[in-house]
């Protein structure tokens, strides 16, 4: 029984953290937010240089072939720095889907996987659990769900309408399109399993980002409360303020092992994968919302301004909480599991 990550995975995520600290500083995020596409070609290029776009791509297509456990550490860093890029959709989700297409579709893999690896392609993923498709306008290829089938579309085959999100780094589009034999790349009987795998990985990635965001909002609250003075001393010395932040630390501390079990179960395709992922998403979402609320309270009126960095992380947390399955969706998956006849629950069943 050991929750420790491999040394090389920790070393890689440490290097990504140092990279993002420089390349994704809040002032850069603001600049990218203001652009029309909301994306920076330069940033994407640098992410590719770090190997992030190649992480899930198999070695034969120029990638690294990493698994969900390695990703979960990276997702946390991407969350902590609120990276304004749909890297995860392309490099984690779309790559997962393309990797598992039937053998007959080798040409799609050959075309797209090397481009994903070298950072030259963006792929958007549309699933009915989300009303919008993130980054469809920027995408070179859009993978869409239709009755459990997988369809691959280029931009000339779809009509897009932009729907602005409160999180300006999310670029959401309503996608109108017509499925046809020509657009279908995977039939429903195989597609069902693939879409389930995409959904669980997307929710897992969301949970990990939310854990990272919680830590960031906590850190911002700590910094602010240590420097801001009232009544002649730092507000962080007052118990009421301390307890706000301690509550966030408790939630964050207990969301992490839940997240890691979900990643472990996902990498190993365990039967309880979906339940564990839903648990992680709920625990992380709750921690992040509490982190947003409490950090804002600690920031006082400054927390309500555009100027204070906290807003960028709060907005990401508010949005991610309901992306790839809102709380009702994930709670239902857990309720269905624990309320089923013969469910194995209780002491000794946690790792069954």
């Amino acid at each position: 029984m050991d929750f420790a990550f491999k040394d090389e995975h920790i070393a890689f995520s440490d290097s990504i953290r140092k990279f993002l600290m420089v390349e994704a500083a809040p002032e850069w995020l603001r600049e990218i937010w203001e652009t029309e596409t909301g994306r920076s070609r330069e940033l994407r290029g640098k992410l590719a240089e770090q190997g992030l776009t190649a992480l899930s791509v198999p070695e034969e297509f120029g990638g690294i072939g990493a698994g969900d456990l390695e990703w979960v550490l990276i997702h946390q860093e991407l969350g902590y720095y609120a990276i304004p890029d749909s890297l995860i959709d392309t490099a984690y989700l779309a790559t997962y889907l393309l990797n598992r297409l039937p053998a007959a579709d080798a040409s799609l893999k050959k075309t797209w996987l090397p481009k994903i690896a070298d950072g030259s392609a963006r792929i958007a993923v549309g699933h009915p659990v989300n009303p919008m498709v993130a980054d469809a306008q920027n995408a070179d290829l859009i993978l869409m769900w239709h009755d459990d089938e997988v369809h691959a579309l280029t931009k000339d085959q779809v009509k897009l309408s932009f729907n602005p999100s409160i999180d300006m780094s999310r670029r959401l589009y309503k996608v109108s399109w017509t499925p046809s034999d020509a657009t279908r790349i995977c039939p429903a009987r195989l597609g069902k399993q693939l879409w389930d795998g995409v959904l669980d990985r997307a929710a897992l990635a969301g949970a990990a980002q939310l854990v990272g965001l919680t830590q960031r909002m906590l850190d911002l609250g700590i910094d602010y409360s240590a420097t801001r003075k009232q009544f002649g001393k730092p507000i962080g010395s007052f118990q009421a303020v301390k307890h706000h932040l301690a509550d966030v630390a408790v939630k964050a501390e207990f969301a992490k092992p839940v997240l890691y079990r979900a990643a472990y179960a996902t990498e190993r395709e365990q039967a309880r994968r979906g339940v564990y992922v839903s648990h992680a998403k709920l625990a992380a979402g709750e921690a992040a919302w509490l982190g947003a609320r409490k950090s804002m309270q600690v920031h006082g009126a400054m927390g309500y301004t555009w100027e204070t960095d906290l807003q960028m992380f709060m907005k990401r947390a508010w949005a991610l909480d309901a992306a790839w399955g809102d709380r009702a969706f994930h709670k239902k998956r857990i309720a269905d599991f624990i309320l089923a006849d013969g469910a194995r629950l209780g002491p000794g069943e946690t790792f069954a």
Binding site: D2, P234, K242, Y260, I334, P347, G348
Partner: protein, 386 residues
């Protein structure tokens, strides 16, 4: 990362499961806060010790099995799963023993630990005083050196199990001119010494689960001191961290309650109009799982020799709030029947939920109130100014 049990661990689980199935009393024992119940629980400790199960993490020559923390968690899971009796000697086995292992002399270990494992000596704790609750460094009860004895005068309170226990461990002020956490000494003493008066305190459930203890020139031999004179605070604090927190409330307890709550919800589902109750049941299962996962993760780190710091304080808050919210959910599920005491003829065997609900009220208060824990988290884990 490896989230699976080893063959050895699975065998250990099977062994304890089999022993418990054959030995756990079919009829629940009376509360150990009654005289008869205390006697029954002492007898159960004898039986546990007969199977070498009473203190599995201790070395074999002191009555244990020398198992590691993961196996201890497995033992606890099976213990709660089997519905085995509460541990009347938990003050001794889970709170005092780790300190004795670290600070006790070999002579003290041999003298106290095997009798503790056997249930021959049941221990009570003597920390709090009327003027020293959350502020434990305000202790005033004196233990003044007189030759080869300490002479104890003063009062302790909220001493759990003290009404029928045999021994007491606690902190006393040995230097009358000292202040705060200086000049304190850790002393072990039998509760039948001349000059000791024990006054039981009724708890919410009407039973005397703790007591006040008055000391009037009570003479305790110097060899009953643990650690150095004046170093009592450090002795008490050194093991007050994670291991003791973990041993005080292992996850098995909460997993068992969460499972019972799921069963209760399924039994009551057709009568439930409050749609927030399903949510609360889901949350109970999630949080009991989270507590289990976090505990295994930490036990894994400790086993590798890593040190656990102030983040241990997050545990106390998490389990006490979890226990409270699970029992609140059960009370809401039971509706107008929830108030019925155990033994109510038409209640339908639900009184344990009420009993658990009452006990859960104390969780955020004892073992360092949750406000104190939040201060520790904020100051020592998050680095906020004092």
């Amino acid at each position: 990362m490896r989230l699976e049990y080893t063959e050895r661990q699975n065998k250990f689980r099977a062994e304890i499961r089999e022993w418990l199935a054959a030995n756990v009393p079919k009829q629940p024992l009376q509360s150990f806060d009654t005289e008869e119940g205390f006697r029954q629980h002492r007898e159960w400790e004898h039986r546990l010790n007969g199977g070498h199960w009473s203190a599995v993490t201790w070395p074999e020559h002191l009555g244990g099995r020398g198992v590691d923390l993961i196996e201890w968690l497995i033992f606890e899971e099976e213990y709660w799963r089997a519905g085995a009796p509460l541990r009347v000697n938990q003050n001794g086995i889970f709170l005092l023993a780790p300190t004795l292992m670290e600070y006790g002399t070999e002579e003290q270990k041999k003298r106290f630990l095997p009798r503790m494992a056997a249930g021959d000596d049941i221990w009570a704790q003597g920390w709090s005083e009327p003027g020293a609750g959350s502020d434990m460094a305000a202790i005033r009860c004196k233990a003044i050196r007189d030759g080869d004895h300490y002479v104890i005068n003063g009062q302790k309170t909220w001493s759990t199990r003290a009404v029928w226990a045999d021994w007491l461990f606690g902190l006393f002020r040995s230097d009358p001119d000292s202040v705060r956490h200086h000049g304190l000494t850790f002393v072990l003493l039998p509760l039948n010494l001349p000059g000791i008066t024990i006054r039981p305190i009724k708890q919410l459930n009407g039973l005397p689960g703790f007591a006040e203890i008055f000391f009037d020139n009570v003479r305790v031999p110097v060899e009953n001191r643990m650690g150095e004179e004046g170093q009592g605070w450090n002795v008490a604090m050194a093991t007050a961290g994670f291991e003791r927190g973990l041993m005080l409330r292992s996850p098995g307890r909460f997993q068992q309650t969460a499972k019972a709550l799921v069963d209760l919800y399924k039994a009551e589902e057709k009568n439930v109009d409050d749609c927030s109750l399903r949510d609360a049941v889901v949350k109970s299962w999630m949080d009991a799982e989270a507590y289990t996962l976090a505990t295994y993760a930490t036990a894994g780190r400790l086993r590798k020799g890593e040190h656990i710091g102030p983040e241990a304080s997050t545990n106390k808050i998490f389990w006490s709030e979890l226990d409270l919210s699970m029992h609140e959910t059960a009370m809401r599920l039971l509706g107008p029947r929830a108030e019925l005491m155990e033994g109510s003829p038409d209640g339908g065997n639900i009184g344990h939920w009420l009993e658990g609900f009452l006990f859960a009220q104390a969780g955020p208060i004892y073992a360092g109130s949750n406000e104190i824990q939040r201060n520790i988290i904020a100051e020592r884990m998050l680095g906020l100014p004092r």
